[in-house]
């Protein structure tokens, strides 16, 4: 493990730093996000359109980050590649439709506070249910195949399909429209640029999740253990911590976040289809590959990059939107084969 770590650039920087190894913060990927936004400016033309697109891209990026963060942590901690992550996203999205329908007098009232309560309820229920299903998913599907990548991929993929079919059974195969709450309809104007209110909500919730996640990972003991586990599972175990229990917790939290992300995703899209899980899955795979499997910060930067990129190309060349994120991934893998922020122990 030690020799392998020394070959990666982050660890090499460590060694040069002196007695107390402290890795220098690598800001280039963050600058890349700004660079993508700036490069797109002249192509888009008008500043107001560019601003609209950028904010929309950032908010989509935030939502993608919320959904993808759990997946990347689960992989980093336990080397489990969960193809069934999309199930939790779909559940979050469908729960949102049900909760909104049940609280229709709250979400249809013009009062912003009542609307936000309805949204908060939808998010809470989505997170709780997605978390619970995540717990069962881990127990039934993932646990028997630890350490076997091939079977993990196959079984979790099977789980995704079963989940999608069960959703079709409960909510029907047709798409369900999800009208936004009354006060969140329409957009805000900053000069000439108009920004969807829902997207602002997405950015706000995303920022809250990001801050909470960073705080939990960097300032709490559990976060310390998780980060240590991502670096070296065996070492943490040998110090007497039950990494298995920690992992179940991370899996449940990741599923709950995916549910939250699915809820937001559905509100921004305003339409829910049973295939949503599979569709978003593809996007978040691209994101976590770009970011470096297992890295939370990388996941964040990757999500912003993909969010911005798909929005710009969606405006400039709609048919190429899907390929833009794949192209971005290819370019980044050429530059940094392990992703933007490689996890050094692997």
């Amino acid at each position: 493990m030690g020799t392998a770590a020394a070959t990666t650039p982050a660890a090499a920087a460590d060694a040069g730093a002196g007695a107390i190894p402290k890795s220098r913060f690598d800001a280039i990927p963050l600058l890349l996000v700004a660079a993508v936004a700036l490069v797109a400016w002249p192509f888009v033309g008008s500043t107001s359109t560019w601003l609209t697109l950028t904010v929309a891209g950032l908010s989509i990026g935030m939502v993608i980050f919320i959904t993808a963060s759990g997946l990347t942590l689960v992989f980093g901690l336990m080397d489990v590649l969960n193809f069934g992550h999309g199930t939790f996203i779909a559940i979050g999205a469908f729960i949102a439709t049900t909760v909104f329908a049940a609280m229709s007098d709250w979400s249809a009232s013009p009062d912003l506070v009542r609307n936000l309560i309805a949204v908060a309820c939808a998010m809470a229920v989505a997170m709780a249910l997605a978390g619970a299903i995540g717990w069962a998913f881990e127990r039934v599907l993932v646990r028997p195949v630890y350490g076997q990548h091939l079977k993990q991929i196959l079984v979790t993929m099977g789980g995704l399909i079963i989940g999608e079919e069960i959703i079709k059974m409960i909510w029907g195969p047709a798409q369900i429209p999800l009208p936004p709450p009354e006060a969140l309809k329409g957009s805000l104007f900053f000069g000439n640029a108009n920004v969807d209110k829902l997207r602002v909500l997405g950015v706000v919730v995303g920022a809250i999740v990001l801050v909470a996640l960073l705080w939990a990972l960097n300032r709490t003991k559990i976060g310390l253990l998780i980060r240590a586990g991502v670096q070296d599972v065996e070492m943490v175990e040998s110090l007497g911590y039950r990494i298995r229990r920690l992992f179940v917790g991370v899996f449940v939290a990741g599923s709950a976040l995916a549910g939250l992300g699915g809820c937001l995703w559905a509100m921004i899209r305003q339409i829910v289809v049973p295939q949503i899980g599979g569709e978003v899955n593809v996007l978040i795979f691209i994101v976590i590959i770009i970011g470096g499997l297992g890295s939370t910060l990388g996941c964040f930067v990757g999500a912003l990059l993909v969010g911005l990129m798909t929005n710009y190309t969606g405006f400039l060349a709609p048919k190429a939107a899907m390929f833009s994120s794949i192209g971005l991934m290819v370019a980044i893998l050429l530059w940094r084969p392990q992703g933007l922020y490689p996890v050094s122990s692997r």
Binding site: I166, K168, G278, S325
Partner: protein, 358 residues
């Protein structure tokens, strides 16, 4: 002679050998044994799936990497024939050009995908192929000028293969000798040749290296084999065989659209057949394809009957409805990965070993 044809990879079980013989003979004489177009359609689908699944087995079973883009190559093959036949008019030239172009496109694409994703970590491969395949599916339905969009392309095959062409005036043994029958035998012979070729590949020294990589890639690398090169080559080979399977399907259906070749359901079928038949045994593809395609073609009718019978019971009728076919496939898939990992062929072989006392 037979031994050489099978590349010395015998079934190694009496029951398996008997089963394979029944399948081969059955498929060879289907047009004369059973009448009706549906039976022939099912037989042709089995033949195409055998090639498709065997080519996937090359990747999943022998090299140990999961690709979700296999239907993409299948689709490229089918679209190659369809687009060439539509734009050049029916004829053998169109078939040849279409197949060749499709092979080139598939080969290059597989090479690039393999090189990019396998260079760093094999685990990227599954995710990247999934992304590329879904992008390709979107592309195929968007480029409606070329691919016919969601509706797909209906085209004409060379005249010798058209159903209207009669070779013998009166039916022989209950089957009319027409272009359709000829097409079926073209498919059958092509499938036999392709499957034997794949058997040859997996039993060659190259195939041994693939299996070594599957068992322990670190060790294979240490012995001196460039795992990236071998994995990429395996990916390209499997893509080429899948493309040919797609060409065969297009010849049979005289139609191609996103749902027939590119859809994710077909990918799931392929995965399920490989697992049920037995990973890492080309024979598993043969047995599994027969089982699953037969089940798919006839069991769905049975499900329709069953759900009709329990139409008054709310949940049960929903579960049994033919729309929930994928649910059952998914559950079956997960269960067989857990409890039946060696598949039918693996089980028969280990039973054979026990009977002979090793």
């Amino acid at each position: 002679m037979l031994d050489r044809l099978l590349s010395h990879d015998r079934p190694r079980s009496v029951w398996l050998a008997a089963l394979l013989a029944v399948i081969v003979v059955g498929l060879a004489f289907t047009p004369f044994l059973v009448s009706g177009t549906k039976a022939l359609d099912v037989a042709a689908k089995i033949v195409v799936f055998i090639v498709l699944v065997a080519s996937f087995d090359l990747l999943l079973g022998y090299t140990g990497i999961v690709s979700f883009a296999h239907t993409m190559f299948f689709g490229i093959g089918a679209y190659g024939i369809a687009i060439a036949s539509t734009s050049m008019g029916p004829g053998w030239a169109a078939v040849a050009v279409g197949a060749l172009c499709a092979l080139v496109v598939s080969g290059v694409l597989a090479f690039v995908i393999g090189l990019f994703s396998l260079r760093v970590r094999a685990i990227f491969f599954a995710m990247i192929t999934l992304a590329v395949a879904s992008a390709f599916l979107t592309l195929a339905s968007q480029l409606s000028d070329l691919t016919g969009g969601e509706d797909g392309l209906t085209f004409k095959v060379p005249e010798a293969l058209q159903p209207g062409t009669q070779y013998v005036e009166n039916p022989v043994l209950g089957a009319s000798i027409d272009g359709r029958l000829l097409t079926y035998y073209v498919l059958f012979v092509a499938a036999v040749v392709l499957v034997l070729a794949m058997l040859r590949i997996v039993n060659s020294p190259f195939g041994r290296v693939l299996q070594a990589i599957r068992e322990n890639d670190f060790r294979a690398e240490a012995i001196g084999y460039r795992t990236v090169v071998y994995r990429t080559l395996s990916n390209v080979l499997s893509a080429l065989f899948a493309t040919l399977a797609g060409c065969l399907l297009a010849l049979w259906l005289r139609y191609n659209g996103p749902a027939t070749t590119l859809s994710f359901e077909i990918m799931l079928d392929v995965l399920l057949i490989v697992v049920i038949g037995g990973m890492g045994t080309i024979y598993g593809a043969v047995v599994g394809s027969v089982l699953l395609v037969l089940a798919q073609s006839y069991l769905q009718d049975l499900m329709k009957l069953a759900s009709g019978a329990v139409a008054n019971v709310p949940v049960l009728s929903q579960i049994l409805s033919p729309d929930r076919w994928l649910l059952w496939l998914g559950i079956l898939f997960v269960l067989s990965v857990y409890y039946f990992p060696t598949g039918v062929v693996g089980r028969l072989r280990s039973a054979g070993l026990r009977a002979t006392g090793r």
